[in-house]
Subunit: 174 residues, 2 copies
């Protein structure tokens, strides 16, 4: 699956949240997400622009691989593989046994909405700030995805600095 | 979890199966298991005596790490980490993306029974033969585990060559 999205640093999530809620958009989920990132013993994922992440959400654990970013401009596209796993703690141990080291953590409060052919997430990231992300549905072409994203950004007032760095990269930069 | 077990090459599973069934032991499961083994890009798991395995069973997918064998004599003990995963195909792709290579396959028909404080499995392994395994419950001490295993081996006629090699190692030896 190729993920096409924008991430926007916003000063305040509340006006965006209000517009979304008054539009009647479906809340897909909300809660605290705690992400641990791992580095490979064989190559440095920070250099190869890859990421291996284990996420603890309220009611599930998710292992994710992200390939190098291939986006242009303010859009970001990258391969993303997601697998729900039964046990976070056992998966963490297994990754360490096969040589992967935990390098960083990101903790955030996230709420996600289904809007049009996209998912909009409002994030409050610990030690980093507030962000809105718009991710196009995987079945759209790149052109359709970018149009849908711009339409939603305009409609819900999601404007500000667009970032192609991940939260992990932003935190490591600070 | 430390797994303590014996693996016995048996000429015929049928007499063992009959004794088990007439004892009223509970069948835990049966079906075809298809195992893929992966090697690390950083170290050779055949040399370090580790294993990373992705199993496809009838109704679930299981990722397993096995640490180096630390058993003595005909008993085998090793650390084993098991995690059920949502998608076999995505997990296979993820392992390959993070540098692991699929090196071998093992296909077998397995039936498992709960007997006393152990699990007995009867395996018909493709290209290899028929085997019975007795694995003690994880909560037993090593001494209790070995006593329980010997008791069951005697009671159900599980006798023959005891092997400490895995099916993978036996297949690679052939």
């Amino acid at each position: 699956m190729l993920e096409i999205e924008i991430k926007v640093r916003v000063p305040d999530l509340q006006p965006i949240r209000e517009r979304i809620r008054s539009s009647g958009a479906a809340l897909l989920g909300e809660g605290v997400e705690y992400d641990a990132y791992y580095n490979s013993p064989e190559r440095d994922f920070a250099s190869t622009d890859e990421a291996l992440r284990l996420r603890k959400a309220d009611d599930y654990a998710l292992l994710t691989y992200k390939g190098p970013k291939i986006g242009s401009g303010s859009f970001k596209a990258r391969e993303e593989l997601n697998i729900r796993v039964e046990s976070l703690d056992t998966m963490d141990m297994l990754l360490q046994r096969i040589g992967f080291q935990k390098t960083a953590h990101v903790k955030k409060y996230r709420e996600s909405y289904r809007i049009g052919q996209a998912t909009v997430t409002l994030d409050t990231v610990e030690n980093l700030g507030t962000f809105a992300e718009i991710e196009a549905a995987a079945e759209l072409s790149q052109e359709e995805a970018e149009l849908e994203i711009e339409k939603i950004a305009k409609e819900y007032g999601i404007s500000g600095e667009r970032l192609t760095l991940s939260y992990l990269e932003l935190l490591l930069e600070e």
